[in-house]
Amino acid sequence: MSTIAVVEDNPDNRLLLHALLDDAYDIVEFENGVDALAGLRAGRPDLVLLDISLPGMDGNEILAHIRGDSALRSLPVIALTAHAMIGDREKYLAAGFDDYVTKPIVDEAILIGAIERGLGRRAGM
């Protein structure tokens, strides 16, 4: 079973993601960037779901740390954001995220699809 790291400070969002993903994946959860980076280095999940708006280090900074770390660089990272403005997708993909999923989660198939595409890319490397 693939392991998904969820980096999200909102407990209700973590609970929802856990409910949606727990049957198909192993889930590890982090509430902030410092814990997440330490956890990713120690645990090596297969994919990261990364909230953008976090207290302290935000999602973009965490991504920069991941892409700057030779051991983590190739991890698929999906941006999870409630910003949802026109042009966001292009902005996040250009920033180095592999994919982009908006909150609120209305259709779980969009989330699962993004995860499976990310895991597929990893398996194909």
Partner: protein
């Protein structure tokens, strides 16, 4: 009064479909747990945003209202979502005086959202 706030009052305040969706995602257990977490977080977020306003910390106000915006949308608290979005945008622009009016409206909206979600929880228990 801000024209966007007037417009807000004419639109539906809540979306029962959002609650049905959560029930579909994880049954009455997930719905009840999500509502409980949300109702616990709302006063904390509003209080933290109020502290941010008092202290002139626009970034804190933006962060708290952003989180509230996200959660209220997932829970179908539409009016709270719209107000949070408006307040977040104002805080990001640094216009804290206007954000303060939005926070007043959010504080007034909280008991309505609490009553609606508490009733949904009780209905789910039957």
């Amino acid at each position: 009064m801000d024209p966007t706030l007037t417009m807000t009052s004419n639109e539906p305040g809540t979306d029962p479909e959002a609650l049905e969706r959560l029930r579909r995602f994880g049954g009455a257990k997930l719905l009840g747990d999500m509502i409980a977490l949300f109702l616990e977080a709302v006063p904390q977020r509003l209080a933290a945003a109020r502290r941010g306003l008092t202290g002139g910390d626009a970034h804190a106000v933006e962060h708290e209202l952003h989180a509230l915006k996200s959660s209220s949308a997932q829970l179908g608290a539409l009016r709270m979502h719209r107000l949070s979005l408006e307040g977040e945008t104002l805080a990001r622009a640094g216009t804290l005086d206007s954000a303060s009016e939005i926070l007043d409206a959010l504080e007034a909206e909280e008991p309505r959202v609490r009553a609606w979600l508490s009733a949904a929880c009780t209905a789910g228990d039957e």
